[in-house]
Amino acid sequence: MPREYVPILTLLALAGGFGLLTLAATFLFGKRRPTARKAAAYECGIIPQTSARGRFSVKFFLVAILFIVFDVETIFLYPWAVAFRDLGLYGFVVMLPFMGLLAASLVYEWKRGALEWD
């Protein structure tokens, strides 16, 4: 039984070792010439406008929650779509209640005004 886990352990060791090795190598061999621009926070290449520690509206959180509906949908639909032909009519029918439930949750959010920004 434990032998089956050897590949996983090897992968873990390789992945972790690579990360540690790169960090150690840059720390030992890299030259450090810091400038103000280099030391600034990295925001996808855009020059940061304000501190990243500011507070922002809870509405963004709501959008993230809304996103979950579609996220879950995609996670389920992808493997389902791949195996669709093998699943046949039965597979199609059992997916309908799931889609219905997701649609219901979206309608609920809509009706409750979660999609209105103000």
């Binding site: 039984m1 195996a83 093998d86 699943l87 046949g88 039965y90 597979g91 059992v94 439930l101 219901a104 309608v107 609920y108 009706k111 409750r112």
Partner: protein, 492 residues
């Protein structure tokens, strides 16, 4: 390649489907028609729960072949547990409708969450697969985290919800990690297959399996509020709306104990004596911690929280007996849960009804002289307290008697003795309330502002139902106990 599908047995699934469908309908209705009378939604929810109860009683327990690959198991045990869960949900909907502070909340959201939580509890109790246990547990836990903080304006409610959420998700992590370890050691998440692997090749001594079993016990122990994982209980019970507290004190316990039962029946006889010791210590710690702490409480919801911890301790006695292979223990567990559901719901109902004229009465001092100002309510409370303490002729006595005798029959000596001593301790705080109600003058001038709230009829119905049940099970227990005994498990 064709993928095989399990055959679906609709009659067995019907109770769960009804509850889920009802939840979606209630949510949708409130989203589309938020201005309508909320009594319609309450009636609808009660009807959904009653029809689910009818459907589960009508479905004859199925065979192994009908278990959908072990994912959904409808045996006699499931049927009894379904009845218990649906009954407790029914009561909490009645209490919610009677509670003043819940009048302003969106009824669809609230009732929908109660129904969703109910479906999760049912799924958790009716499966042989560890994964389904986890899914069911998460369904009802997430709903309960929201319900605990449903009165958003109250800081206590927010505290309760956050505490419950943080600690609960931590416990869920334990549970899931334990399941993963058990899967790693045995190669299956199906309890029956796990039991078979344990007999053929004994990995029961492997550290991974024992660690996994320990973690699962921690996770389930948290949900049933067993010592030493009960610290969240008093705070959460105190801060949540009273109707939600009543719900939390019965439904999730029934579901988690049911899953615990199935786990112990599968792995218990083969997992060695360590489990015996763990259950023994947990039971003694739980009942002692609950009873001793309850004595010092000045808030009635905290007192009932500690009392529910103590009762979880008594039920752990049945669990220890089940591990030793006692059939009697399963029946007495089911009967105990039935009586416990009724007397606990009844006690919370009195708390709700006592606050039905406005201010909630949560301090124990508030109940001084209730016997003179509201005699009927005080009499009901006295009945529930006597039953919780386990004094005849109430259901609490009979349930305890069956439970402890089951433990004696499998050779436990000290465990029942300690349990009985604990019951004696518990009399002190249960009867303190009765003494307060009847032997003290009402503190201030008895406040009688206005009429009862519109929900008084719901409170009355719940009270009458609970009181009748507690008395009935105390005086004529045998028919229901027979029923509990016959509610056997498929997996054994």
């Amino acid at each position: 390649m064709t993928i095989p599908f399990p055959q679906i047995h609709w009659a067995y699934l019907l109770p769960v489907l009804l509850v889920v469908g009802g939840a979606v309908f209630v949510l949708m209705w409130d989203a589309f028609f938020p201005q309508r009378e909320r009594s319609f939604l309450v009636t609808l929810t009660l009807a959904v729960l009653a029809s689910a109860l009818g459907a589960s009683l009508a479905a004859q327990p199925g065979s192994e072949a009908a278990s959908m690959g072990g994912m959904y198991l409808y045996d006699g045990f499931t049927r009894f547990v379904f009845a218990l869960i649906l009954l407790s949900s029914f009561f909490s909907v009645l209490l919610s409708a009677a509670q003043r502070s819940l009048e302003e909340v969106p009824a669809g959201d609230y009732l929908g969450l109660i129904l969703f939580a109910t479906s999760g509890m049912m799924l958790m109790a009716a499966t042989r697969s560890l994964l389904m246990v986890f899914v069911g547990l998460e369904i009802f836990s997430l709903a309960l985290y929201v319900l605990a903080g449903f009165l958003r304006g109250q800081p206590e409610g927010n505290e309760a919800a956050l505490k419950y959420f943080l600690l609960g998700s931590f416990a869920s992590g334990f549970l899931l990690y334990g399941m993963a370890l058990i899967f790693g050691a045995t190669g299956s998440v199906d309890l029956m297959e796990i039991a078979q692997r344990l007999t053929t090749s004994p990995p029961s001594r492997s550290p991974a399996f024992l660690l996994g079993l320990g973690f699962v016990v921690v996770g389930l122990g948290f949900k049933v509020a067993a010592a030493p994982f009960y610290m969240w209980t008093p705070d959460v019970y105190e801060g949540s709306p009273t109707a939600v507290t009543a719900f939390m004190s019965v439904g999730p316990k029934v579901a988690a104990f049911a899953a615990f039962f199935r786990l112990l029946l599968a792995v218990g006889p083969r997992a060695g004596a360590e489990l015996d010791a763990i259950l023994w210590v947990m039971a003694v710690l739980t009942m002692t911690a609950g009873n001793v702490s309850a004595i010092w409480q000045s808030n009635i919801k905290r007192m009932l929280a500690y009392s529910s911890i103590a009762h979880a301790g008594y039920i752990l006695v049945a669990l220890a007996a089940v591990r030793r292979g006692s059939d009697l223990a399963t029946g007495s567990f089911l009967f105990y849960m039935l009586v416990y559901a009724l007397m606990n719901m009844g006690a919370f109902c009195v708390v709700v009804a006592a606050g039905a004229r406005g201010e909630e009465r949560t301090r124990i001092e508030d109940y001084a002289g209730l016997g003179y100002t509201r005699p009927a309510l005080a009499a009901a409370m006295a009945l529930f307290m006597v039953s919780l303490a386990g004094i005849p002729p109430t259901g609490g006595f009979v349930a305890k008697f069956y439970l402890f005798s089951a433990a004696v029959k499998v050779g436990f000596v000290w465990l029942p003795v300690i349990a009985v001593l604990n019951s004696v301790v518990s009399v002190s705080y249960y009867l303190r309330l009765v003494v307060l109600m009847y032997m003290r003058e009402p503190g201030e001038a008895p406040a009688r502002p206005g009429l009862l709230g519109p929900g008084w009829s719901y409170a009355l119905a719940a009270l009458v139902l609970a009181a009748a049940g507690v008395l009935n099970f105390g005086i004529f227990p045998s028919s229901f106990f027979e029923l509990a005994l016959r509610s056997t498990l498929l997996l054994n």
